[in-house]
């Protein structure tokens, strides 16, 4: 079924649009209707959080809650296991508010820490990676404190996490921001007592087009080979040798490899099943959270940090 849809859409649109979508992991084999919808908007200004569409929640939620989609490897799929896992995730979400955030957003995470003197520990930083599905979902925060780069990895459904607060909701140009480790420290420095910035309701998540400057070599990875958009000065550190090798290592044919993309994604039939199962609860949680936040903004002018 999915293949048929794929073929027909392939005839109508050019193959190039398959690569337009950056997010390979979350990409789904959407029907034609959805494709048109996505194609009309520009690539960067894609509304990831449009007004709630009750007829097709897949479009909205696969970016907001990526961990609800299972691992696409068919060897590990099992519908009952996935169902139990989703039920557990919803149970945890009923206890703690896990907000919508993306790679590039700035978060404040409070955990209960048996080692600390006050038994709680708060860390603020930019999310440089988000990965894993189900209860295994995790993210990495990075900050520079006292001129020392610090990174902490958290699990999203860890019962030790007391609160996750989004201080600035935005996206960056890349899927992973590992290059911040080799960038100048000011690009990953955030004050620990940052105030949360509240977006007006209904606006799409802004994309921060900042391009960082890298420190001179040596680097931790070969950034020049990764086709990064968020780095400005990568060319000035390259030698002729590096440019030649970058050309040799390019794999321009991979964007035409439909099978590879199919293996990396969850078919739209499976997705609609998953979202129809969890949509109601997630939507209710979201609405109640909005009500709460509205109340808070009426009572207090400046929301306090948790």
């Amino acid at each position: 079924m999915a293949l048929v849809i794929r073929k027909s859409s392939l005839d109508i649109f050019s193959v190039g649009k398959w690569m337009l979508r950056r997010d390979c992991r979350l990409l789904s084999t959407l029907p034609e209707k959805a494709d048109v919808l996505e194609n009309t908007e520009g690539e960067q200004e894609k509304p990831i959080r449009p007004k709630p569409k009750f007829n097709n929640p897949v479009l909205e939620y696969r970016h907001v809650y990526p961990e609800f989609l299972p691992d696409p490897n068919p060897k590990w799929r099992n519908s009952l296991r996935e169902k139990m896992e989703r039920a557990d995730m919803l149970k945890r979400r009923s206890q703690i508010d896990i907000p919508e955030f993306y790679v590039g957003s700035i978060l404040a995470v409070t955990i209960s820490d048996p080692h600390a003197q006050s038994k709680t520990n708060k860390f603020v930083g930019i999310c440089i990676e988000r990965k894993g599905c189900g209860l295994r979902a995790e993210f990495i925060l990075r900050n520079v404190i006292d001129h020392q780069g610090v990174e902490v990895r958290y699990e999203l459904y860890d019962p030790m996490i007391q609160s996750i607060q989004v201080l600035r909701l935005e996206k960056r140009l890349d899927d992973k921001l590992y290059y911040l480790r080799d960038a100048l420290p000011e690009y990953s420095t955030f004050p620990l007592d940052m105030d949360p910035e509240i977006l007006p309701e209904g606006t799409p998540v802004p994309v921060n087009p900042v391009q960082v400057k890298l420190k001179p070599r040596p680097w931790l990875e070969r950034w020049e080979r990764q086709e990064l958009k968020g780095v400005s000065n990568i060319e000035e550190y390259l030698k002729e040798k590096d440019r030649v090798r970058r050309e040799l290592r390019k794999t321009p044919w991979e964007k035409y490899d439909l099978m590879k993309q199919y293996r990396k994604t969850i078919p739209v039939e499976d997705q609609s099943e998953i979202w129809s199962e969890v949509y109601n609860q997630l939507h209710q949680m979201r609405v109640s959270r909005k009500k709460l936040s509205r109340k808070r903004s009426f009572t207090i002018n400046k929301p306090q940090l948790g």
Binding site: I145, V150, V152, M160
Partner: protein, 150 residues
């Protein structure tokens, strides 16, 4: 001018991963560390661009983990120190740092400096308390001079 250039080159050579443990960023024999306390010796060593080298890691595996005691060669002297931050990938909720940090101590566990400039992980509190025995060295003095925990 020339001096600064050579020192920068030296630093680049030191941090360039020539050893096989680079992907793991392990602390083992001859790893260069960063002294993060304000002891006279450590400060001068870091300023001159001659960071201390590990010459022994005091555990069974000889690969330093957080809170392990190491012996370092620093400016021609042998000194002991405690690892207070690692570049290696850490467990969940344990911070990972951009450099391998060390605080110099003497044989009784008393730090040579009076302040630590950088944040240190809170898990160190538990680890150092476990390592401290009634008659041996008291490593918990290190926690007293820390300025910030993450």
């Amino acid at each position: 001018m020339l001096k600064s250039l050579t020192s920068r080159l030296c630093a680049a050579a030191a941090s360039r991963a020539l050893h096989t443990t680079a992907p793991l960023q392990e602390v083992r024999l001859l790893t260069r560390l960063r002294v993060v306390d304000n002891s006279e010796l450590g400060r001068r060593a870091m300023a001159e661009g001659k960071p201390p080298k590990v010459i022994c890691v005091y555990n069974k595996k000889r690969v330093g983990l957080i809170g392990d005691r190491v012996m370092v060669a620093i400016k021609g002297q042998k000194k002991k120190g405690i690892l207070v931050g690692l570049k290696q990938n850490q467990k969940v909720k344990v911070p990972k740092f951009d450099s391998n940090n060390i605080v110099l101590i003497d044989d009784n566990g008393t730090p040579l400096g009076t302040r630590i400039h950088v944040p240190i992980p809170t898990i160190l509190r538990t680890i150092l308390k476990e390592r401290t025995h009634a008659k041996g060295a008291d490593y918990t003095k290190l926690l007293g001079i820390a300025t910030r925990f993450v």
